[in-house]
């Protein structure tokens, strides 16, 4: 048993990111129900997102929260399933979080910057 303060903070951040994401997920669920209706095309997607600062902010925060949340969830899974501990565990979780953040950020940038 080690790092009570670290574990406690990570627990708080995991739950905090979950709460923070609630409105984003709700919005995402509604939006995808509406958009999938008309069939998905690049023109549809990019037409909505391209150059829209509010959408880029929305998805930017969404990506940030989901990266943190998923990395911490995967950290638990690695600890329980593979028995990883200590620095190796935290490095793995941080790597996954950063990867998600990078790929997610790139996707947001892509739909923001490219015109249909």
């Amino acid at each position: 048993m080690t790092h009570p303060s670290r574990e406690t903070w990570l627990w708080l951040i995991h739950r905090g990111s979950a709460v923070a994401m609630l409105p984003f997920v709700a919005g995402h669920l509604i939006l995808m129900m509406l958009t999938v209706r008309s069939g998905l095309s690049a023109a549809d997607i990019l037409g909505r997102t391209q150059g829209s600062v509010s959408l880029v902010a929305y998805y930017g925060f969404f990506v940030l929260f989901v990266s943190v949340h998923a990395a911490l969830g995967l950290r638990t899974e690695l600890a329980e399933k593979l028995g990883w501990r200590g620095n190796r565990l935290d490095l793995a979780a941080a790597t996954m979080g950063l990867l998600l953040l990078a790929t997610g950020g790139r996707a947001v940038w892509a739909v923001y910057s490219v015109s249909a």
Binding site: V25, L29, L40, E77, T103, A110, V111
Partner: protein, 122 residues
């Protein structure tokens, strides 16, 4: 009769089975979403190569099995959110009764979201 069963909508199946099932579903839905996310991001990032590339990538998501997987993922997302709210109700507000009802509601919400998505998609 267990405490959860007394407050449960369904009488018969052991509430513990529900607990284990809920734990497993929460974990597996989360895992599925985490694995799916990079794919999702990769697909959208295709537009960096132009909208034609995005259309090309989007075409890969149109066969029925892929659409079905999307429906499952939508349900997984809805379940993960509803189940997560249920957990945080216990953790932050010490609300530990009605858990079985809340589990049933999470499942219902997940199914509804999946169906709604499927109806719109297919």
């Amino acid at each position: 009769m267990g405490r959860l069963q007394r407050f449960g909508l369904i009488g018969a199946p052991s509430a513990q089975l529900v607990a284990q099932r809920a734990a497993r579903l929460q974990r597996h839905s989360g895992l599925a979403l985490a694995v799916f996310l990079p794919l999702h991001f990769w697909l959208l990032a295709q537009s960096l190569k132009g909208s034609g590339a995005l259309d090309y990538a989007l075409a890969w998501t149109r066969p029925a099995p892929v659409r079905l997987a999307e429906v499952v993922l939508v349900s997984a997302l809805a379940f993960h959110v509803a189940g997560g709210i249920r957990l945080m109700l216990i953790e932050f507000f010490a609300c530990h009764e009605f858990q079985k009802n809340l589990f049933v509601i999470s499942c219902g919400f997940a199914t509804a979201a999946g169906l709604l998505f499927a109806l719109n998609d297919f």
